[in-house]
């Protein structure tokens, strides 16, 4: 069991650094694309028709994957001061209830999200003419990662996801 946990933490660590690079590239790409859009319109007088759409879809992917990282680190804001009052068995019980509710919800979003992607088959985006499903895919993928993370948190006793100290810039 301990062996398995160690392996998991290793995977966790590499997923974290992978996410770091993906999100860096996504936000960097968004910045460049939007800035280029301004440049092409004002300086070269030749607006780029695809820049806005591409930046938007990148942002949705970034938000979905970022939501997974934030979930891992526990940085989604919630109201915790009520739960902080409960200690011992009742506290653990309530914590389990909340985790269970969350897991059910996230699982439904994953299922419905993939369903939506399948439904959109054949539709293309207005500007870039890429499959719409590619953009919509961000949501079930992000939530699937959240689901896996939540399942590990509830099922493995000493599981603490990898975190960096530089959380607060």
């Amino acid at each position: 069991m301990n062996y398995l946990l160690k392996g998991l933490l290793k995977v966790e660590r590499s997923v974290h650094s992978l996410m770091k690079w993906i999100l860096f590239l996504i936000l960097g790409g968004m910045t460049l694309i939007v800035f280029m859009g301004v440049f092409f319109r004002y300086v070269l007088k030749a607006p780029l028709p695809w820049s806005e759409e591409m930046a938007r879809y990148l942002m949705i992917w970034g938000a979905s994957l970022g939501a997974f990282v934030a979930f891992k680190e526990g940085s989604h804001v919630g109201v915790t001061f009520i739960m902080d009052r409960f200690h011992g068995k009742i506290g653990i019980f309530l914590k389990r209830v909340s985790q269970l509710i969350l897991i059910i919800f996230v699982a439904i979003v994953v299922k419905e999200g993939f369903g939506l992607v399948l439904k959109l088959k054949g539709q293309t985006s207005p500007a870039m003419e890429i499959p719409m499903g590619l953009a919509y895919l961000a949501i079930p993928v992000g939530f699937l990662l959240i689901l896996l993370e939540a399942l590990m948190m509830i099922s493995i006793k000493d599981y603490h996801p990898f975190q960096e100290d530089e959380k607060n810039l």
């Binding site: 999100l23 996504i26 936000l27 800035f35 970034g62 739960m83 309530l94 939506l116 919509y136 810039l169």
Partner: protein, 427 residues
């Protein structure tokens, strides 16, 4: 149905489930109860909510602020503020407040302001024999100016939800932000005189002044680029924000040379993660407000409030009190996303200018950042000052009261909020 919505919302909220998921779960339960709408409405509304170009100003403003902060721009702002107000009684307290006002011009979030200025100014203030709790209180209470003076993340979000102009809201925040700054300085002056806090003995030198002014020009140019670009019709707020990012990269690499390439991935990564926590709430709120709209909750709320009074003054008073209480429990951005769609129809119905109301909401909910139990700035400043909340809270009270008084003054004198937007023809 209303009862079901209410119970599932408050139950999941009380369980400590993050607000984004609370909104999603409540919407899902409502959809199941309605039974004639497919459940894929949730991922769909989540997607369409986030699929917006105007909202992209949020990641860019966060990123620009983080880049500026990483290039040690804070030191320059503090140096300049010292020269401006350092010689008044309670000097470093004033410096803290004025630096917050300048910092507000490069960052749109109060939490960034708290940690950036607090980590430098709290130790500095303690060295000058201010109490730690007082130093922390000044830091936290002045940092709420961050999202009131443009650029501002809550205003970008509000503009989206209430269909207002970002440029107009940004301009409208300038005077209230400065007003709050001066109000806090007055409190700091009175308390410092009573407790005999320091007064800098350094004499004023023109040479030093011009040198630090030069250093401060770089951060001060940023709000001018943003506002100037938007007001001049050169770019949209989102484009302005991307230009602000490029500007801060340029400053960090070529002018100050304090930024290094190897810091970049982490700064971008952190900014995107922070953005995602806001966007996910925004997307889920998009599903949630759809449900509320189908159940005609906004209409029902306005009816019941209008049955108490139809006097705009009374209603604004009640709404302010309500929002102050909400701000104590709910994070400001989430409160905006949930409540503004409900309250806006009511407000416009009784003839209050929507832009005026939006600005009141921002100032009001930002005060919530320093009130317990869920004041984000309060939590951050506790971390920075390495102190428990209790003693800081006691020192925050006079500042908080002044902010609440200013909130009510702004509420009843729309001059503060509407003069600048009117001047630039936004209304």
């Amino acid at each position: 149905m209303n009862l079901l919505l209410g119970v599932s919302f408050f139950f999941t909220l009380a369980l400590g489930i993050p607000i984004a998921f609370v909104l999603g779960i409540t919407s899902l339960i409502a959809l199941i109860a309605l039974s004639n709408i497919p459940l894929h409405l949730i991922p769909q509304r989540l997607f369409t909510g986030m699929d917006s170009f105007p909202i992209m100003a949020v990641p860019f403003f966060i990123l620009a602020g983080n880049l500026m902060n990483a290039s040690k721009i804070t030191d320059r702002i503090i140096d300049f503020s010292k020269l401006l107000v350092g010689r008044i009684r309670g000097g470093l307290g004033h410096v803290n407040i004025v630096a917050s006002m300048f910092f507000a011009g490069i960052s749109g979030s109060a939490v960034a302001d708290t940690s950036a200025l607090g980590s430098i100014l709290i130790p500095a203030m303690v060295r000058e024999r201010y109490s730690t709790a007082y130093s922390a209180a000044v830091t936290a209470s002045s940092s709420i100016i961050g999202p009131i003076i443009p650029p501002s993340i809550p205003m970008v979000i509000l503009a989206m939800i209430a269909n207002l102009s970002v440029g107009g809201l940004f301009l409208g925040g300038v005077l209230p932000g400065i007003f709050i700054g001066f109000g806090l300085m007055a409190v700091n002056y009175l308390i410092s005189r009573k407790r005999n806090y320091e007064k800098s003995q350094e004499s004023f030198r023109w040479k030093e002044f011009s040198k630090s002014l030069l250093g401060a020009v770089i951060p001060l140019l940023m709000p001018l680029i943003i506002l100037g670009g938007i007001l001049g019709g050169i770019f949209t707020p989102t484009e302005a924000a991307s230009v602000a990012v490029i500007y801060s990269l340029f400053v960090g690499f070529f002018i100050l040379r304090t930024l290094s390439l190897k810091d970049l991935p982490n700064i971008f990564f952190r900014s995107m993660v922070l953005t995602s926590t806001i966007l996910i709430v925004f997307g889920m709120a998009n599903a949630f407000s759809w449900i509320l709209a189908t159940q005609q909750i906004p209409q029902k709320v306005s009816q019941s409030i209008l049955s108490i009074s139809r006097n705009p003054y009374v209603i604004l008073f009640l709404l302010n009190i309500f929002l102050l209480i909400v701000g104590c429990f709910l994070e400001g951005l989430a409160a905006i996303m949930i409540l503004v769609p409900i309250l806006m129809p009511l407000v416009t119905q009784i003839g209050i200018n929507p832009m005026h109301f939006a600005l009141i909401v921002v100032v009001n909910l930002m005060i919530g950042l320093i009130t317990p139990p869920v004041g984000l700035c309060l939590i951050v400043v506790c971390g920075v000052a390495k102190m428990k909340v209790g003693p800081i809270l006691k020192e925050i009270l006079p500042f908080m009261w002044v902010e609440i008084i200013i909130l009510f003054i702004i509420t009843y004198f729309p001059w503060f909020t509407l003069t600048l937007p009117r001047l630039f023809k936004f209304i």
